[in-house]
C-alpha cells in the first residue's frame, strides 16, 4: 500500500494505518498486480462503506432525539424508496460491474494456455507443499515448501492435492485458490516488486493446518533464472557422515536428495534444503538445531505430521544428519 494508496486517493492515510497494514502475509501490503488492484478496491469500498455507515447511523441517532422534526408518512415513505431501494440498486450495479470487469484482467485465461513460459505446479500435502517448476526448456525442477517467481512476468500455477483440500495463497501477490483432490486448479500471479512473502494454507486440512505455510520469493528476472538453474542441479554435498546416517536410517525412502541414492518421493525433496527460508513448511526457522529437533520428534512440532519420529537415534547421529541437511545450499 504505502505512498501509492495515499496518492491515489488524494487522502492522507494516517501513518499508523500504513504501518499497521504491512507484514509478510498482508494483503494490504501488495507486491503483485492482483493484490494491488484488490487493495485499492478495498480502500475505496471501505471509504464508501464508512460514509454510508455514518449516514445510516446518523439518521438513527437523529431519530432518537427528543426535539426534532417528525417526518410525515409520505416523506418517510420516500426515504424508503429513494434511500432504501433506488440508491443502493444503482451503487451496487456500479460496484458489481467494476468487480466483474476486474476478473478477466486479474486472471487472464491466456496466461494459462501459453506453453512457452514457466509454470509452477504446487501440490498440497498434509502438511507441506510439493513445488514443481515446469520450464519451457529443460526438465521439471522439483522442490518443496518455497515458491520463487520472477518479477514482471505472469506465472501460471497449477494446484493439486495429494490428500485433503488445501488452499494456496500468497497475500502480497494476489488471492487464493483451493487445491482439491481429483482436480487441477489453474490460475496465475504476477509480482510487481521483489520481496520475500509468506503463504499460509487457507483451507482447514487437519491438526497442523495452522503450521502449513511456505515462503514465496519474488526475484528479478535474472536472479530468478540463476536461482532456478542452481535449484535444478544436484546437491552440493554428496558424501559425508551425515548423508551416511541419513541413508542408513532409511530417510531416502521418503526424501530425495539429488546426486545421492536418496530418491523417495513421499516426503519433501531436500536437495537444496539448506537454502530455504524456513523448515517444515514454515513451522520452524531453518537452522541446524531446528532440523535436529524436527527429525527427533516431528509430531511434537507438527501434530499429525506423516513423518515418523527418529528420537530413538543417538543424538550424535541426529546432529550429523542435521548438519548435513543444513549444509545443502
Amino acid at each position: 500500500m504505502r505512498a501509492r494508496a495515499s496518492a491515489a486517493f488524494g487522502l492522507a492515510v494516517p501513518a499508523i494505518a500504513t504501518a499497521a497494514c504491512s507484514g509478510p502475509q498482508s494483503a494490504l501490503d501488495p507486491h503483485g498486480v492482483e493484490a494491488q488492484a484488490v487493495a485499492t478496491l478495498f480502500w475505496w469500498m471501505t471509504l464508501a462503506g464508512a460514509l454510508i455507515w455514518c449516514a445510516v447511523i446518523g439518521a438513527l441517532v437523529y431519530a432518537g432525539r427528543r426535539r426534532r422534526r417528525v417526518f410525515s408518512a409520505r416523506a418517510a415513505g420516500r426515504i424508503v424508496l429513494w434511500a432504501g431501494a433506488v440508491t443502493p440498486s444503482v451503487l451496487l450495479l456500479i460496484l458489481l460491474g467494476y468487480g466483474l470487469a476486474l476478473m478477466p484482467d486479474l486472471r487472464p485465461a491466456s496466461a494459462l494456455t501459453a506453453n512457452d513460459r514457466l509454470h509452477v505446479e504446487v501440490v498440497g500435502e498434509q502438511f507441506w507443499w510439493r513445488v514443481i517448476y515446469h520450464r519451457p526448456d529443460g526438465p521439471p525442477v522439483v522442490s518443496a515448501n518455497e515458491v520463487r517467481l520472477p518479477v514482471g512476468t505472469r506465472v501460471a500455477f497449477s494446484l493439486k492435492s495429494a490428500d485433503v483440500i488445501h488452499a494456496f495463497w500468497i497475500p502480497q501477490l494476489g488471492g487464493k485458490m483451493d487445491m482439491i483432490p481429483g482436480r487441477t486448479n489453474r490460475f496465475s500471479l504476477q509480482a510487481t516488486r521483489a520481496g520475500t512473502f509468506r503463504g499460509p494454507c487457507t483451507e482447514f486440512c487437519g491438526p497442523s493446518h495452522a503450521l502449513m505455510a511456505f515462503a514465496a520469493v519474488a526475484m528479478d528476472e535474472e536472479a530468478f533464472a540463476g536461482w532456478l538453474e542452481r535449484e535444478a542441479g544436484p546437491a552440493v554435498r554428496t558424501e559425508g557422515p551425515g548423508l551416511d546416517a541419513f541413508l542408513a536410517n532409511g530417510c531416502g525412502a521418503c526424501h530425495t536428495i539429488r546426486g545421492t541414492p536418496a530418491d523417495g518421493t513421499i516426503g519433501p525433496d531436500l536437495t537444496h534444503l539448506g537454502a530455504r527460508k524456513t523448515l517444515a513448511a514454515g513451522a520452524l526457522p531453518n537452522t541446524e538445531a531446528a532440523i535436529a529437533r524436527f527429525v527427533a520428534a516431528p509430531e511434537a512440532v507438527k501434530p499429525g505430521a506423516r513423518m515418523p519420529a527418529f528420537g530413538m537415534l543417538p543424538e550424535r547421529e541426529i546432529a550429523a544428519i542435521a548438519a548435513y541437511l543444513a549444509g545443502l545450499e
Binding site: 408518512a73 486472471r107 485465461a109 489453474r186
Partner: protein, 126 residues
C-alpha cells in the same frame, strides 16, 4: 383484453417476479456451468452462452414486466397510496397488487444484475 382476471384470488401471484428471477438464474448458471464443463463435447463457442443468456434475460424481463403490469392494474394504477390497511377485500387486493409490483421491481433489477457477467466475461476461465 382481459386474458387474466383483474381480481386474482390467490397468494401465489405474489411470487411471480421472484420465480421468474429464480428460473432465469438457474438457466444462466446451469447453462454456463454445463457449457464450461462439457465445452469440448458440445463443440460451440462461448458466444452462444452469451447469446443464450441474453435471450433468457429478454424473456425473463418481458415476463416480469407483464407481471408488473398486471399487479399495477390490480393496485389500481397507483390511484391509491399505501398503506392498504383497511379490513376490506379491496384493500387486501390493493396490497397484493402493490407488494407484487414491488417484488417485480426487485426481480427486474436482480435479473439485470444476473445478466451483467456475460457482458464482462467472455470465456470460461479456466
Amino acid at each position: 383484453m382481459r386474458l387474466v382476471p383483474k381480481e386474482i384470488e390467490s397468494l401465489w401471484t405474489l411470487f411471480t417476479g421472484p420465480v421468474v428471477w429464480a428460473a432465469h438464474f438457474l438457466v444462466c448458471y446451469v447453462g454456463g456451468a454445463v457449457y464450461c464443463a462439457r465445452r469440448e463435447w458440445l463443440g460451440f463457442g462461448f458466444e452462444w452462452v452469451r447469446i443464450g443468456v441474453g435471450a433468457a434475460t429478454a424473456v425473463a424481463l418481458a415476463l416480469i414486466v407483464a407481471a408488473a403490469w398486471l399487479s399495477w392494474r390490480q393496485w389500481g394504477f397507483g390511484t391509491e397510496d399505501p398503506p392498504h390497511d383497511a379490513a376490506t377485500a379491496h384493500d387486501r387486493r390493493s396490497f397484493q397488487g402493490f407488494a407484487t409490483l414491488l417484488l417485480s421491481g426487485l426481480s427486474f433489477v436482480a435479473v439485470v444484475y444476473t445478466a451483467l457477467p456475460v457482458l464482462m466475461i467472455a470465456e470460461c476461465n479456466p
